[in-house]
């Protein structure tokens, strides 16, 4: 009867009995999305072993084989299943590598945003007063610069001081930094708003009366109750980050042509769309849409599951 007498269940046993798994087994859309998303991630990260060619290796690129159509259109070369781009790179390989770059930038940037935004939002909302005023004005200032402007400024400074080869070499890191720094106020504001709502609830008073320190109250009591909106905006933000990166690449501020992301692939194919080579833009575009859509649908499902009030009570 008593739960204390029984040995503590293992992590796996607890997971097996959890509502998380239970709900997952009964939500076909979540299963489908997770399957697609996980296979995209696996394929993207195994690109060096899966891709037919290495698009970063100039010796494997044949300029004469440029703009070949995908296999179902007449004139295709069976060596290039999804055709080739304007430089003669195998589109399938380059998409795999590009998806990997996009995923790394998207998740990296969102991780940075969330780290900064959640911390600042929590501090601003819970401590209030001067800390709140300072952090929120900082957020306002940050929001008044668009991501593009931050990218241009940071890019210009880095290129001027460290050289443009350095910038291309560390482009992924740079983009994570730029998108992460540019968008943290989204998190900070959302978290602050829900912290303000949670802070006035009596369980926070009860924790204070108990004598718990501010840090423990903030991270143990308030933060878990503000995570639902964080999950929701995270999905939007991953999509946003991937799209921001595409926009930056489109303007030549993002990934260099030699290490393209999905965004730079769309951009590079954009010039050829009028000449009939639509696949160079469309296929990476479809991959991007599928990627963003599965992330969003998964995020929706996770939000439903993470809120115990929705499934119990």
């Amino acid at each position: 009867m008593s739960t204390y007498a029984s040995p503590t269940p293992t992590r796996w046993a607890r997971f097996r009995d959890s509502y998380f798994l239970y709900s997952f087994k009964r939500t076909w859309s979540a299963q489908l999305c997770l399957a697609i998303f996980v296979s995209l991630v696996i394929i993207a990260f195994l690109a060096p072993w899966l891709a037919p060619t290495d698009p970063y290796d100039l010796r494997q690129i044949d300029i004469l084989a440029s703009e070949l159509p995908p296999f179902w259109i007449a004139g295709a070369d069976e060596m290039y299943m999804l055709g080739t781009d304007a430089q003669g790179r195998d589109l399938l390989s380059i998409i795999l590598y590009g998806t990997r770059v996009s995923l790394i930038i998207g998740f990296g940037a969102v991780l940075l945003q969330a780290l900064l935004g959640v911390t600042f939002g929590l501090l601003a909302g819970y401590l209030g007063g001067r800390v709140d005023a300072l952090l929120m004005r900082l957020a306002d200032i940050q929001l008044s610069f668009s991501t593009l402007m931050v990218a241009i400024v940071v890019g210009a400074i880095v290129k001027a001081t460290l050289g443009s080869s350095f910038y291309s070499e560390y482009a992924v890191l740079m983009l994570i930094l730029i998108i992460g720094l540019a968008e943290w106020p989204q998190y900070a504001r959302t978290v602050r708003a829900s912290v303000l709502a949670e802070r006035s609830k009596e369980y926070v008073d009860a924790a204070r009366v108990m004598g718990l320190g501010s840090r423990r109250i903030m991270f143990r009591h308030v933060l878990p109750n503000t995570l639902s909106p964080v999950f929701v905006i995270s999905t939007v933000q991953i999509a946003n980050a991937i799209i921001s990166e595409a926009a930056l690449s489109f303007l030549g501020l993002g990934m260099p042509e030699t290490h393209p992301s999905l965004g730079s692939l769309i951009k590079s194919g954009f010039d050829y769309i009028q000449s009939g080579s639509w696949w160079i833009t469309l296929i990476p575009g479809v991959v991007l849409v599928v990627l963003v859509l599965t992330i969003n649908l998964l995020g929706d499902w996770v939000r439903d599951v993470m809120n115990p009030r929705l499934y119990k009570g």
Binding site: S2, T3, E202, D205, A206, V209, M210, G211, P308
Partner: protein
């Protein structure tokens, strides 16, 4: 109520420091609390007659409240909404910092302590909140909720000891130990309030502030929870500061009653005395509002007007505008609490002068 007679008996059961029996457990002296309505500095600046002036407005929630709470008693604070009774509770517990005055717990001042310095007192004084639907963290299981204060205040206890204590305290408030792994929202209001009481009792406090602990509950549950609180008082020698607006509860529960009006205490008296002979005009009006079975033509004392706003406090006695016995002195001079021979204290010029 015979609880009046019980109070000194409880005192004598406390073995430590017998000479301190005379000393109140909690002393509140001239406590004031005001809340600014004017926002930050820039928002306070106004143009008035071509000049820039700084204008600040305050809500005067508590205006000079003095209370003594004796060991073992249950002091009830009653008053209508907005009279500052909850604010008193929150200031006592250190959830709000007072604007003025002193709070002494067991002889030591606690109103200006840092949260670290307050920690030893947190173990001795606990609070039960009004709304059991909001006072439990929705993301924590009952077990986690109850273990948290123990882990904080007894860092040297091992897992088993913490669990044993949780089990004991759960049993003492009548909740089954296998509820521990469930979440707060899976329970009804009365069950949640039991859990909240268990959380307060977990650290073995001697003093409990209860801020309207039963007013959010179903009437059928109120008596159960009230009895639970009374049992806890008997078994654990607790002292209560009990905030309520329900006079029936006061009569059942309170050793002494303090009646508050607009941030001031107008009368403190032993429960039986207050109900038998209310002295302050406001208390009299309050008592006459209790519905009684025996009379079919109730003699309500009808007060005219509204409670004045606590932003612009009336001069003198805060009650003078609505008091049928007010005279010139009441409009100018703030009445002090004056002790009467039957143990009650009344803040009223008319009572002091023998006009009433």
């Amino acid at each position: 109520m015979n609880r009046v007679a019980q109070a000194p008996a409880l005192d004598s059961q406390i073995p430590a420091a017998p000479e301190q029996d005379r000393q109140a457990l909690l002393e509140i002296r001239d406590l004031t609390k005001r809340f600014s309505l004017s926002g930050d500095f820039l928002e306070q600046l106004r143009f008035k007659g071509g000049k820039l002036v700084r204008k600040q407005e305050f809500v005067h929630a508590i205006n000079g409240v003095s209370l003594d709470i004796q060991r073992g008693e249950a002091l009830c604070v009653v008053g209508e909404s907005g009279c500052g009774k909850s604010t008193v509770a929150r200031v006592v517990m250190g959830l709000l910092s007072p604007s003025g005055g002193e709070i002494r717990y067991d002889g030591a001042r606690i109103d200006s302590l840092s949260s670290r310095q307050l920690l030893p007192y947190r173990k001795r004084m606990q609070m039960i909140f009004q709304n059991p639907y909001a006072s439990l963290n929705p993301r924590m299981t009952i077990q986690q909720t109850l273990e948290e204060p123990l882990r904080l205040h007894h860092p040297d206890w091992d897992r088993q000891k913490v669990r044993d204590k949780v089990e004991e305290v759960m049993a003492s408030v009548g909740i089954a130990p296998d509820w521990g792994k469930r979440f707060g929202h899976e329970f009804s209001g009365g069950q949640r309030q039991r859990i909240a009481i268990a959380r307060a009792l977990a650290v073995d406090p001697e003093f409990i502030v209860a801020d309207e602990p039963i007013s959010a509950l179903d009437v059928s549950i109120q008596a159960q929870v009230l009895n639970l609180l009374m049992d806890a008082q008997r078994d654990r020698h607790l002292t209560y500061l009990f905030i309520t607006h329900d006079l029936a509860v006061v009569e059942h529960f309170g050793t002494r009653v303090a009646v508050m009006y607009l941030g001031t205490v107008c009368e403190i008296a032993p429960t039986a005395t207050l109900f038998a002979t209310p002295r302050h005009p406001y208390t009299q009006a309050l008592m006459s509002a209790i519905p009684k079975l025996e009379d079919d033509r109730p003699q309500h004392i009808r007060l005219s007007g509204e409670v004045p706003t606590p932003v612009n406090l009336p001069s003198g006695c805060v009650f003078h505008a609505r008091c049928p016995h007010a005279n010139e002195r009441c409009r100018i001079e703030i009445p002090r609490l004056i002790a009467k021979e039957d143990g009650s204290q009344v803040a009223c010029h008319a009572v002091e002068e023998g006009r009433l």
